[in-house]
Subunit: 208 residues, 2 copies
DNA sequence: GTTCAAGTGTACTTGCGGTACAGTTGTGGG
DNA sequence: CCCACAACTGTACCGCAAGTACACTTGAAC
């Protein structure tokens, strides 16, 4: 009855990561101070360094957790969409609509993509972190490419596009849409862009 | 024969901005130290503070210059495309192709978008800077929406999309494509995404 | 009732961002 | 010719944050 045996209440480590994630997305990694994190969490500096040997280890842990969570989220969302739909195209279109609705339901808009944040500060990080961001994006490409191949096996392509590019386009729309939403202070801009991507996918396989 | 009367050779201020721009795009604003900028340019700290009263003023000047340059670039590129083509749709499609080619010709890939970098560090900046990023993105929306309206006046829309969203999508593709390119270390990913956007625009107005 | 994970407390070093301000230099105008 | 001004240089300083070191405490599990 143990396995991990955390401690009394909600892992301090996780709460440090929570505080760090939102701070990094608002101000960047360099200007997120350890002092502010420990103040937010209510732990001492020694407590912080007990969990992370230095700031670099925090960066790695933050990104790993983020990527793992995103993958779980995509798994659940598109699996759920597929349960409602036999056809791979309509399953994907339903999944995209669910994604847009989920994004629209976020009360303060999407907080930001850590991979994007890290890309714009990549000289701060070691090769391990850079490899992780690369693998994350390539993982999303592989994930969506697989789905697009299943669709292309049943539907003729009305517009000649490369499936890797079309798969990448969803990450591109997500990251670009987040920036758009943040820049114009319109949280609905991101879900609208996802729906536009959905229109494109539908048109590619079903025509106009 | 003066007007601005700079000084002997190439404005120091411009060279500071050059150094700052590439540093900010690689490491973020906070971790771009004034010391590294003055070392790169060959000026003293006092020299720096002669041109910028503090780091915030550097941030403002950097962004203003960036946005102004981007606008000039878009003006020139799409004006040139229109000269080659009477039709607004084909002019836009030619412009997008020229944009993709220009991006593909960058030897080290696109260095990054300052607006995107600032969005992911926006708590570092004052309201003036945030207003500038907002106006920049809204300006791009207005620019491309105007072109899309000219197209829509002559071509029926085969796919029902909002023109503001379709206009925004180009900024989204650019910013997201830059992140994709940086993340996977493939400089050609960005121009391919621009071409994919072009495919979408063509399909919206010409069908499959 | 001891052991171990999960911390606390205190003290210190280093480096950077930023401030302040007086002094210097080259060039063009009167 | 020299003076004014833009464009710097030199020096000195402050406060904050990252990171180090290490001795100590506490609560739960076995």
């Amino acid at each position: 009855m143990h396995e991990t045996t955390p401690r009394k209440r909600g892992d301090t480590r996780e709460r440090i990561l929570d505080a760090a994630e939102s701070a990094v997305l608002e101000k960047g990694f360099a200007s997120t101070s350890i002092d502010e994190l420990i103040a937010a969490v209510g732990v001492t500096k020694s407590g912080f360094f007990y969990h992370f040997k230095d700031k670099g280890e925090l960066a790695r842990a933050l990104l790993s957790r983020y990527v793992a969570r995103e993958n779980v989220l995509f798994d659940e969302l598109f699996d759920r969409a597929d349960e409602l739909n036999e056809d791979p195209l309509h399953g994907f279109l339903v999944g995209l609509k669910m994604l847009a609705e989920m994004l629209a339901d976020l009360p303060n808009g999407h907080p930001g993509c850590l991979v994007a944040a890290y890309c714009y500060q990549d000289r701060l990080f070691d090769r391990e972190v850079r490899a992780l961001t690369r693998q994350a994006v390539l993982g999303w490409r592989a994930r969506f490419r697989k789905r697009l191949e299943e669709i292309a096996a049943r539907y003729p392509m009305r517009v000649a596009v490369d499936l890797d590019d079309l798969a990448d386009m969803l990450s591109v729309i997500a990251d670009g849409g987040i920036i758009l939403s943040k820049a114009v202070h319109d949280k609905d801009a991101l879900p609208r862009q996802v729906m536009l991507y959905r229109d494109f996918v539908r048109t590619v396989f079903l025509g106009t």
